[in-house]
């Protein structure tokens, strides 16, 4: 039999205002197991906690019920108090008589009655509580960063700087991500490559960082501190250790008609390629879809010209297995497809382009060597129309657009418009906007400069239709301020396409058991207070995989994620949650129901000997739970047909007792 102490908190007048705390303490005195009951103004204060500690000693208490605020608020506090008094911390139960009683009910008798019932339920539960000890697990002191864009690079650099080894997994042949494709960056207009490529080189040269480029995460097992990850290193048919990146193979490759994805298909590359000059690692990759040698065995030119002997047509995908203590997701974004926006004629005309394509057109390393030329005829455009919010803030068209604001478009459109007017003052630039959203340091000033100093024509309204006519694009839009319909014969139309999370993020989230929102952005553990952690312990978020972000925000989030990872990796041991499932092997019939519902793969089976009748020994297949992997959801306890599976801290008998206490 337990010896339970009940402690009712006034919480000043928060509880005592609508609950007669003295009556509650008095009523709970006669409950089975209760040997002591009292109330105090602030239980969570030092004096209140001392009161609990003294009562534990004086009355030899084995269990504690605190009638106070939500357990989400102070359960941890009172568990520590219990531990300080020499009790097992899991012998504490909280009756939530503030958030779920005094604050939502107005009449004293009702509140008091409910508080007593809630207290009774907690007492009934504590009567069945058993001491629990959390398991310990060691921490693997290595971090994995998934995605090698600016978010991933910054996180990896910061973790490596603290002295922990980090691996970056990047699916493309080079790290750098979207930022490597950009020309200038707002609001300071420094060139993206100038600030990104040194970081890429730093990452490559840092002895704590390993880069797995052209690789993907294949499987993730384990839990915080102890992840086991399989990484697929895709065959690039070039030996990375031998290739010097000289480019001789690329010059000689006869397959010249491969759309260059780095320039978004606006020019061609060879079948063997290095995405761009500053690629890291600077190693050639053979595109198996286009290489004649790999497709039909006829060619082999690159082998002849490779002085280093790095070409290896027989290379196979390789699986690397590695253990990690923490995983950072930095999978980034893609602009959405414009194919379904028929009204903007993106599929009909080469001269309707997305902003990322515009970025390549103005980039000195791009297909036009930085000259702004129309993709269709290579002529200089004299009238350019920018359309904002294409696919963003689009609530009615879930099949083609996104409901959220993509956040970065207002600023990069202002940047594009400004740079165009700066370089080509003979060009008319019109921007159609719904709202201009420029919250950020020096952001609004930047946009105003585009208007006031560079003479960009901002029109409040939206483009309804773009029609190619001859070599012109007829743009029909509305000017809401003038209440007019306007028609512009433009040479080039630039669509500020919405951004969406990378397509690989969804399967990755499933592997990591990290949750996502309906837009496939990773959800954070708390939208305000824990913005870089996933609700899944040990998984952290960096950059646009969590929501639309510009570069400064991405970098600061990357640093924040790194500091969280460092905080985790510097621990030697992690305390687990003792509220895990366990199976009563005498009752288990080995049916596998529990194993099938377990989302963590925490349940396995073993053949065990049990005494049978007449001194025989019977071998039965029974379930065992790995307490380090179990997260304590309890799905298995309900699935178990024989009632063998139970959940520590939330046992069947405990919940039944609570039900009984409430329904008495």
């Amino acid at each position: 039999m337990q010896r339970i102490g009940v402690f009712v908190c006034w919480c000043g007048s928060n509880i005592a205002g609508t609950v007669d705390v003295k009556a509650v303490a008095e009523a709970l005195k006669s409950e089975p197991g209760v040997v002591f009951s009292t109330e105090y103004q602030y239980m969570c204060s030092q004096a209140g906690q001392d009161l609990i500690k003294d009562a534990v000693k004086e009355h030899n208490l084995t269990g504690i019920v605190v009638c106070s605020c939500s357990p989400r608020m102070h359960e941890a506090t009172f568990r520590k108090t219990a531990a300080a008094a020499g009790l097992n911390p899991y012998m504490v139960e909280i009756a939530n008589i503030r958030e779920q009683c005094s604050w939502v009910h107005k009449e004293m008798p009702l509140g008091t009655e409910k508080a007593i019932i809630l207290g009774k339920a907690a007492v009934a539960k504590v009567n069945l509580n058993a001491p629990l000890t959390p398991g310990q697990s060691p921490v693997t002191k290595r971090a994995l960063v998934i995605g090698g864009g600016i978010a991933g690079i910054q996180t990896a650099l910061d973790i490596a700087d603290a002295g922990f080894p980090v691996d970056i997994v990047e699916k493309k042949p080079t790290i750098g991500g979207k930022m490597a494709q950009l020309d200038k960056t707002f609001p300071t207009l420094d060139c993206a490559a100038c600030i990104l490529t040194p970081k890429m080189v730093d990452a490559a040269q840092n002895e704590n960082i390993r880069i797995f480029s052209y690789s993907e995460v294949e499987a993730v097992k384990g839990f915080v501190g102890n992840f086991e990850v399989k990484i697929k290193k895709k065959a690039r048919y070039v030996d990375e250790t031998k290739c010097t990146g000289c480019g001789a193979c690329i010059e000689k490759c006869p397959q010249k008609k491969v759309p260059n994805e780095f320039n978004l298909g606006m020019d061609n590359r060879r079948a063997i390629y290095i995405p761009f000059a500053q690629a890291v690692p600077k190693v050639a990759t053979i595109d198996a879809d286009y290489c004649n040698m790999l497709k039909n065995g006829k060619c082999g030119v690159c082998t002849k010209f490779c002085a280093a002997g790095a070409i290896d047509y027989k290379q196979k995908d390789e699986i690397i297995e590695e253990k990690y203590g923490a995983i950072v997701v930095a999978t980034g974004f893609e602009p959405i497809s414009m194919e379904k926006f028929d009204e903007f004629a993106y599929s009909q005309s080469k001269d309707v382009i997305t902003s990322l394509e515009f970025e390549r057109l103005t980039n000195a390393a791009g297909p036009t060597a930085g000259k702004l030329l129309r993709p269709s005829d290579g002529k200089h455009p004299h009238k350019i129309v920018f359309v904002q919010c294409v696919g963003s803030r689009c609530a009615s068209c879930a099949e083609k657009g996104k409901e959220y604001c993509s956040k970065i478009c207002c600023m990069y459109t202002a940047k594009h418009a400004m740079l165009t007017r700066d370089k080509y003052p003979d060009t008319d630039v019109t921007v159609f906007y719904i709202d201009v959203r420029t919250p950020g340091k020096n952001f609004d000033e930047f946009q105003r400069r585009a208007v006031e100093e560079y003479g960009v024509n901002y029109v409040k309204g939206m483009v309804g239709k773009v029609t190619p006519e001859g070599d012109k694009l007829i743009v029909r839009g509305s000017d809401l301020i003038a209440n007019k319909q306007i028609k512009i014969d433009a040479d080039l139309v630039v669509l500020a396409a919405a951004i969406e999370p990378d397509k690989t993020a969804r399967p990755l989230a499933t592997m990591l058991t990290a949750s996502m929102d309906t837009n496939d952005f990773f959800t954070e553990a708390h939208p305000k207070l824990r913005p870089v952690e996933s609700p899944t312990a040990g998984v952290f978020l960096s950059g646009t995989c969590q929501g639309p972000k510009d570069i400064p925000e991405t970098v600061s989030q990357a640093g924040a994620a790194a500091s969280k990872v460092i905080g985790l990796l510097q621990k030697d041991m992690l305390l687990g949650n003792p509220c895990v499932a366990s199976s009563n092997q005498l009752m288990c019939n080995g049916c596998s129901s529990c194993e099938r519902v377990c989302p963590y793969g925490a349940i396995s089976y073993e053949d065990k000997e049990f005494p049978g009748p007449n001194r025989t020994v019977k071998v039965r297949r029974v379930a065992t739970v790995n307490p380090a992997v179990c997260q304590g959801c309890g799905a298995c306890t309900v699935a178990c047909p024989s009632g063998a599976m139970d959940l520590n801290g939330f046992m069947n008998s405990q919940i039944m007792a609570e039900v009984d206490a409430i329904c008495k």
């Binding site: 939530n96 107005k106 009702l110 997260q631």
Partner: protein, 144 residues
């Protein structure tokens, strides 16, 4: 005979991560709902064994509501899907036991939906009140 005002007895199972936090938020925002609702905290809505619900009806509950995270948002990734299926199966059998289906409900309330929690409880209690007192489900194993 003395007429007593009918007060239903409602048991609410709330998952720790979303709905219980949603109930706390309702408290923080001082959103009233009937005191007849008594909340039991469970780690996940999938911890709710149909036996608990039957037990509650056995002991005189007039309504039982199970609240969990929205589909896709479960802290344990898939727990609430189990809940949805299990409860659909259980609810379809309640009629057979003589309990109106309306006395049970599964609702998704996120940690940010304090207002929804209060509104849901108000609505549910109103519904249960309109149904009146529940027949106590008899324990067939041991008649007392």
């Amino acid at each position: 005979m003395q007429m007593k005002e009918y007060k239903p007895l409602i048991v609410a199972f709330c998952c720790n991560w979303c709905s219980y936090a949603g109930a706390d938020l309702a408290g923080n925002n001082r959103l009233n709902y009937p005191a007849e609702v008594k909340i039991i905290r469970v780690p996940c809505s999938c911890r709710v064994n149909p036996m608990f619900i039957l037990r509650a009806f056995q002991r005189g509950a007039d309504g039982v509501i199970i609240c969990g995270c929205h589909p896709g948002d479960c802290h344990y990734t898939s727990g609430n899907y189990f809940t949805r299926r299990r409860m659909a199966a259980l609810f379809s059998m309640l009629d057979f036991l003589g309990i109106e289906k309306e006395r049970t409900r599964v609702e998704w309330v996120s940690a940010a939906e304090g207002a929804k929690f209060a509104a849901t409880m108000n609505d549910f209690v109103e519904k249960v009140v309109s149904l009146g007192e529940n027949k106590r489900l008899e324990d067939l194993r041991c008649k007392r």
